[in-house]
Symmetry: C2
Subunit: 411 residues, 2 copies
């Protein structure tokens, strides 16, 4: 018997199940007998809560449906594993379970916290000469993992925010009145996803006219100046901001005392609402803020086919790496220089990925710090291309049944 | 020369341009020489700001692209016209302009405010024996117009909120922790669109578990009770609320003093944030609120084909009514009793539509007032069926160029 186990962890993306489909498909092809999924990440391994994904393959179109099912089919967790050298108890228990279940390979699909788990399992395996091979598969809508050109899940979220921005551009230009619309995008530490709103620009609309990322200190004064200038030339101004914008002292705009003090209001919410209040007071025009919120990370109906196919290929590549005898890596992809967009798959040491954050380089942002430039656009453009085939029944997209995640047990 | 003019007004929907396409197409077929569109609603007529839509028909696939272009292709306005008998000056000017331009028919596409405009023009035309025929074409995502089974734009918005709710159900069930997600939906006075979140329910997910509409007085105590009970049985609770929920004194929850007093926080935003704060304090679990905001009314990429085709047919029917010598009507539709969903088109006196609001009947809501029932589901189901063919280029939906709306002029 040669079995493997897969976990998913961290926050949802539209593509994380495409990676799961890739691992399952390739593991089946490479002769694994049982492909287990642990429910709720590493906690599911510790609690021996596995489902047999090999059996699911008998269900009609299981992998095709899995490809387009949003969020984690296996559930998630936010557990942080202890140091495997100082506190080996949980690892001992897990690896004993692996032996018992004939599990020879472990696949962890997730972001940088999840890669920390993968790195720790891999360190423990190395220390104990375990035959279990440990492999990471990347995902995050934030696109902020180290050692990879871009992360699965990002392209789909980027497409969602760009398409929504374009539709909002149409929505906001209909009235002959001055108005400001602030759109708050996810990404606390990295501005990649907020930058992707620039993809909405076309021959007739330059919305968003301003883009603020967390990588550049946010100046309220300059933002007011820039918005005021734009409002002289046009009626409707759209501003894309990252939820993580902060001032030059590093204080988040959402929690900024200035907003509370100046206007005597307690801020209950994020950067968008805070800026809505600040600009509204300063400029006195119609203003609203839109927080795209969780739909931007689970909006599979608007996924990027490029993203889904790469996510799947990374899952497949992780299995291939294991079969080549590799361990302690994360399946990764590089962009190949050339006229047409192309990527090559590789493996990178997972320890070099864990806990790092890849910010937007300063030279992808304009000098004033209120927009992205051509370099960013060229980087982003290929990532949102293509639409998956999604089945609709009675007007709604059809996803996989995830009733195995419905539970009242907390841990 | 036999010409006509079309206006669009009120708030955006995903289907209002489908009605415009219907009017243009049918007017062309019925021998109109020039089909004018007034920019920014009735204000465009008063300012003589017209574009010649007949010329646009030469552009490739103009009507097909118009069908799926979100918001008003002709722009909008919120002007309220004066009484045509007491203050006829603006009407005199407009009808003189109609004569000058050989305009014999006026089509107003909009909601109940817009039908008020149509009713007033029609009253003026009747009083002055003008040969100009005046016809309304309905739209509103709120579905609250009188004298129609359901309004164009509603089905697409309903599909958007239902699909987003389903994706959020996947997103929120991944963690083994107790959590509440509140989703705030548009509809200040009528709960139709909030009710449509119930369409997201399927064999594996009953989200949203609670639905609160403005038609039933909202009790904070009961909402806390209901949520607490649900949290005992499951980890993730999704609650759909209308932006217009109010307590038994008729006070909006968003502006409710109770929230301010009890918790010492000033509320800057709507019902979702207010309830997030109230339930979070009362139940002490992970909580967030999502305001679907303007994307729900302009998300054409997720439009209902049933809705778009009906919107177009209503535009066509409005022209047919004019050609039958009718005036002062709104093109409308009735649902035909029977096993399969079917509608019949008709005309209703526009004065009976103007300024009325059709609320959700009490017998579409369960007794406790925290959910909708089978009657509502049967009413809603057919309205979201079908997906339009939308062209994507470089990963983004392709809409019509609306640069004619970009302006710095306010009025």
């Amino acid at each position: 018997m040669k079995n493997c186990v897969i976990i998913q962890s961290g926050g949802p993306t539209a593509a994380i199940n495409a990676s799961l489909a890739g691992v399952i498909d390739q593991a089946k092809k490479m002769g694994y007998d049982r492909i287990y999924g642990a429910i709720n990440g590493i906690a599911g391994v510790l609690r021996h809560h596995l489902i047999d994904l090999t059996e699911k393959l008998d269900e009609e179109d299981f992998l095709d449906k899995l490809m387009v099912t949003p969020a984690m089919y296996l559930g998630s967790c936010r557990n942080r594993m202890p140091d495997p050298i100082a506190e080996p108890a949980q690892y001992e228990q897990m690896f004993a379970f692996f032996r018992e279940m004939n599990i020879v390979a472990f696949f962890g699909i997730g972001g940088n916290d999840s890669m920390d788990t993968v790195a720790k399992l891999s360190a423990y395996a190395a220390k104990t000469d375990s035959p279990v091979r440990v492999m990471g598969v990347p995902k995050t809508i934030d696109n902020d993992l180290m050692q990879i050109d871009h992360t699965p899940g990002f392209g789909s979220a980027a497409k969602y925010v760009a398409a929504s921005m374009l539709e909002m551009a149409h929505d906001t230009m209909i009235y002959p009145v001055k108005s400001i619309t602030i759109v708050e995008i996810m990404g606390r530490d990295a501005g990649w996803l907020t930058a992707a709103t620039a993809l909405a620009r076309n021959t007739y609309s330059d919305a968003p006219q301003l883009i603020y990322l967390p990588e550049v200190p946010f100046s309220i004064t300059e933002c007011i100046e820039d918005t005021e200038r734009l409002l002289r030339e046009r009626n409707s101004v759209l501003i894309a901001i990252s939820e993580g914008i902060r001032d030059k002292e590093g204080k988040y705009i959402s929690a900024s005392d200035s907003a509370v003090d100046k206007f005597g209001h307690q801020q209950l919410s994020g950067a968008g609402k805070a800026l809505e209040h600040i600009l509204g007071q300063a400029l006195g025009v119609k203003i609203r803020s839109v927080e795209l919120n969780i739909p931007q990370r689970c909006g599979t109906h608007l996924a990027s086919q490029t993203d889904l196919l790469e996510a799947r290929a990374l899952g497949e590549h992780a299995v291939k790496l294991v079969e080549q005898g590799k361990t302690g890596l994360m399946a990764s992809l590089e962009r190949i220089d050339g006229e047409n967009y192309q990527v090559a798959y590789c493996g990178v040491p997972v320890a070099e990925v864990a806990n790092g954050v890849r910010s937007v380089p300063r030279d992808f942002i304009n000098e004033r710090g209120n927009d992205v430039n051509e370099k960013m656009l060229n980087y982003l453009k290929p990532l949102i291309v293509g639409e998956p085939k999604i089945s609709y029944v009675d007007g709604l997209p059809q996803f996989l049944d995830v009733s195995h995640l419905v539970s009242s047990v907390t841990f």
